[in-house]
Symmetry: C2
Subunit: 461 residues, 2 copies
């Protein structure tokens, strides 16, 4: 029975291969080595070359057969590089990789979205397994790429796209697979975590910390993707899709960066036993999936509060496992290359055992994404008001009308200004819509000079 079944499976696979084009999953089982084609030889690409060279023996032992970097797509062949590759390995023609029958695994580490997606799709449709570190591509085009992978019995692995070297994709897909994930909260952008750590520990203002981060190479010349939260939002879309088995794309994620965070807010938060972090938060609720990236106050005792500098961490709560956290370096050449190479090893093992695509896309449901107005949260608010009687009363009157109740209030006089005062409040849990409407009315009170800050408080775990 087993013989027949197995042959059947291969026969069917063989027929589909013929339908889609030549070679594909052809003679993989008889391979003596796995040929890898790299798209890109930047930081991560070089890291992968280094790991495959340095840890060659261990990698071959664990995978069962040798892995060889056979072709590498670069823009400029003659450029000096600090990794050594054999003659003829570098190419400027992508078809030497994605259309090359000898290549088994295509590793996309070139970045960008449109060109990378086009190459990856073609590689998959040629039956090649693909490993990628590209969060932008996965957050935007994950669905189509998974369909291509599935149709062609290929692996599409992307552990490095979130959290650099931290194992999080595979743990979610396999180790926590028996759980209904309730929520996932991540510090998934190292640049902003470094900046907030500095602002918290040393009281250095935003602009100065940003310059420092840029000079250290922690922030890019154009830092907008990091500080405005889009980098984290892409990663959150990927994590949410896996956690809740329903496709969440970048467009579904509410995004707010840290550009509005001041050392004043951080200092008030500390007084109230909170710390400010840029969080990616996703939860499953009866009304749909919440997916949001924004700065938030978290209690100083929470495991995420101890995640400092450029480190990342993802805190996951499941119905069976309870609370777990995955911590490590969320970026950098070698951590990211560690995750890419582990994926290459898995893809290689699957090819050698003739089960590429063993664990495919897990988005088998279609769940709605909740709009931000319906999200419930606590809020930290800082208002600048005229220092006269009745101000707090008129604010709390509006809050009462909109069902916003207060958990704590600090009123602060200014030393150099006796006509104004600062009010800091933390609300109980309330729908975002109610709070926004209340604040709109409060903003128009004659005694309110400015609503300086609104930061969500995350302590619902």
């Amino acid at each position: 029975m087993a013989f027949l079944r197995c042959c059947d499976k291969i026969l069917i696979s063989g027929i589909i291969s013929l339908m889609h084009g030549a070679n594909k999953r052809g003679d993989t089982v008889s391979k003596e080595k796995i040929n890898i084609g790299l798209l890109g030889l930047g930081t991560v690409g070089c890291g992968v070359c280094r790991i495959l060279e340095n840890n060659y023996d261990n990698i071959e032992q664990k995978t069962g057969l040798p892995l060889e970097i056979t072709k590498v797509l670069v823009k400029d062949i003659v450029k000096d590089r600090d990794v050594e590759l054999g003659p003829g390995v570098l190419t400027t023609d992508v078809n030497d990789i994605i259309d090359n029958p000898a290549i088994d695994i295509v590793v996309e580490v070139m970045g960008g979205t449109d060109t990378a997606t086009c190459y990856v799709k073609k590689a998959l449709s040629n039956g090649k397994s693909v490993v990628t570190a590209n969060k932008d591509m996965m957050a935007l085009y994950g669905k189509g790429l998974f369909e291509a992978a599935e149709a062609n019995f290929a692996d599409l692995l992307f552990e490095a796209s979130v959290g650099g070297g931290i194992p999080i994709i595979r743990p979610l897909k396999q180790c926590l697979a028996a759980n209904r994930i309730k929520q996932l909260i991540g510090i998934i952008n190292g640049t902003t975590n470094y900046m907030l750590t500095k602002m918290t520990a040393e009281g250095i203002p935003f602009d100065q910390v940003l310059s420092e981060a840029q000079s250290k190479g922690y922030a890019e010349a154009d830092p907008s993707s990091d500080i405005e939260g889009y980098d984290a939002a892409r990663k959150l879309a990927i994590l949410a899709s896996i956690a809740f088995n329903s496709r969440v794309t970048l467009d579904d994620v509410y995004v707010e960066g840290i550009t509005g965070i001041s050392t004043t807010d951080i200092a008030y938060a500390e007084k109230l036993n909170y710390i400010v972090k840029l969080l990616g938060i996703t939860k499953e609720t009866p009304e749909g999936i919440e997916a949001r990236v924004h700065p938030a106050l978290i209690p100083t005792g929470h495991p995420l509060s101890a995640v400092k500098d450029v480190f990342n961490a993802v805190f996951v709560k499941g119905d069976a496992v309870g609370e777990t956290m995955f911590y490590g370096q969320g970026a950098g050449e070698m951590p990211t290359a560690s995750a890419v190479t582990a994926d290459i090893m898995d893809a290689a093992r699957n090819i050698s055992k003739d089960v590429p695509g063993l664990i495919g896309c897990t988005c088998y449901k279609e769940k709605p994404v909740k709009e931000m107005g319906s999200v419930e949260s606590k809020y930290f608010l800082r208002l600048r008001v005229l220092d006269r009687p009745g101000v707090l009363a008129s604010i709390t009157y509006i809050f009462g009308d909109k069902e916003v109740s207060l958990a704590s209030v600090i009123q602060n006089q200014f030393e150099d200004n006796d006509t104004e005062a600062e009010i800091v409040m933390i609300t109980h849990k309330v729908k975002e819509r109610n709070l926004t409407e209340a604040l709109e009315m409060i903003r128009h009170l004659s005694s309110v000079i400015d609503v300086c800050s609104l930061i969500r408080v995350e302590e619902d775990y």
Copy 2:
């Protein structure tokens, strides 16, 4: 080519199956469901039943076919239980499971070593995949069991044996597979971590904390396996074997529990910015693998220092990934059942794709284990001495002779006793043998009343 290869593989597998007995990996590929046999229906067994019932739909979607608990081995069939199983599922005859051709996966959650090992070995030799939560069995008999699994093309999965629900075995075997692991430091016993947390936060002495832990169900009536470090040592043996690809057994691990830890030592440690934890430490050094469980001082800023109460965490350092940490609940019905069920899902997927044993034993090397005398560490020492001139000089003279140098010294007078004093010292790094020899000489000095404490200091990362 692929056809022939595939058939060859099955043919060989078929012949081996025939050699070992009937059925085995027979018609697994044609299965419409996966039949599970549970050995034991205690806490973890009930948890597995609950998860398979509650998350049935998700589990079937992810695994590709339904999982059914077909048989459960119990001692007493009529006993009241809080999980419902169909008629005929409970059995008191183990052969209804391990010799039953219909059973695909045997889940060993009965505990103990000899009987469990015998059952698991038979199940494996019958070609059944095995999932176990049994750290004692894996730490003692892992090698033989893996050989049986490999010979019979079966999976032997044991994620739940270390760290309860925390994903750590699979991340080490797969996600960090591209790394040379340099060291692994774990808080892998919840009972002792709860006790040390209480002793630290509230200054409650050891005996009282132990009673509290027992009354809360965190410590057993006979707490020796936890407080003397053997539970942690078993888990460390398992982790070390995977981290360094060389079999480390319980006998290889140096073990020291927390029975000698006093609130006095904890208070001194705090003054010096350290916290006391029971750690499982394993490192690869040129002289061999270090594997040791003992209390240790770690700096208050270290990620492990924030791991409190019954939580566990494993801190791993790899050459590429840098520092990572895996955190969560290290025990309990549902967290442990979460890991067991995830392993069942993997084993089921492998059976359905006809690749059981896809990732087997990774101990493909034989490395020596370093003896404790050769281990280098810093040390915290507390001595009770006569309060007279020259005492410190005579101690440091001996230390100098044995190449022990001091990083810090605190001398403390007693309020109620002016003839004695307490000296607390932290040494620089030195070989354990040198320190032990020096202490033996110091112990005999007429001015030294007692060497009250010796605790290793772990800050080498």
